[in-house]
Amino acid sequence: MTAANPIPVKIVVAGGFAVGKSTFVESISDIDPLTTEAAMTKVSEGIDDLGDATSKKSTTVAMDFGRVGLGSELVLYLFGTPGQDRFHFMWDELIRGAIGAVVLVDTGRLEQCFPAVDYMERAGVPFVVAINAFDGVLKHHPDDVREALDIPPSIPVIVTDARHKAAVRDALVNLVRHAMTVGASASA
């Protein structure tokens, strides 16, 4: 039988605007990254003045993702978070059942990753902070980044290079290991 029935798993790639999320996904994806669009219906659910459906604006939020085959039995999906803060409601959907998140950080613009770090901490999602060393240059030591972002010692701060498959894979390995530690202590 050639038609396998693989199990899908998911990792979220978060971070600020233009920090290299798409590059990160593209470097390891088996397919050219795809974009799925969702209408922003959830935003209007809490609003009383709905009017009829045809009068609603068809604002959409786009999510980029890639796919990595792990043997014949597993398929890993990597979803980039939509950048703008107003799309945070989509993050709830993205993190549901996810192994965890890689929060990409550009040391030149540290503050851009604050929302992602905050969100993952509050949601209890296992995550690693991955400093994207653009052009192979690391502008700040991971310890400095940890201190600046007030990352607790239990959360890994690592260095990656979104352009290189091996570096991306290592970042993902780090995340999965961390998720296993978190999972083990949570169920103990």
């Binding site: 993702f65 059942g97 894979r169 978190v182």
Partner: protein
């Protein structure tokens, strides 16, 4: 008020809910990464299906995630979910997911170990 422009009747993006009879939710729980696979019944019924349903059934002869169905066929995610949910209920596609219903639940350790092994063999 209404989008009666000519393009509203030709583009899926403008009036997606025409395809779903106005429904915005699927009766079946379909996470983004749930894999959709066409069943033998789906293969044989394919010629009789409506356009979008037929496209989904043809696409998913190789397992594709809900997100891929939406992205490749350029159907809004919510609409893709309703259409896939119907196909599931009719037995024309089957889905596979490891994602638990509880929002905070995470994949179990055994699955994580397999993912780790898979990543390390890349």
């Amino acid at each position: 008020m209404t989008d009666d422009s000519p393009e509203a009747f030709t583009s899926l993006r403008v009036r997606p809910y025409l395809l779903t009879g106005g429904r915005t939710r699927s009766a079946v729980d379909l996470p983004l990464e749930a894999l959709v696979r066409t069943t033998p019944a789906g293969v044989s019924r394919s010629p009789q299906l409506g356009h979008e349903r037929q496209l989904i059934v043809e696409l998913c002869t190789e397992p594709q995630s809900v997100a891929e169905v939406s992205a490749i066929l350029k159907i809004h995610l919510q609409v893709a979910r309703v259409l896939i949910g119907d196909l599931v209920n009719e037995g024309l596609v089957a889905t596979n997911t490891a994602t638990p219903h509880q929002p905070t639940a995470r994949p179990d350790l055994r699955l994580l170990e397999r993912v780790l092994d898979g990543l390390q063999s890349l």
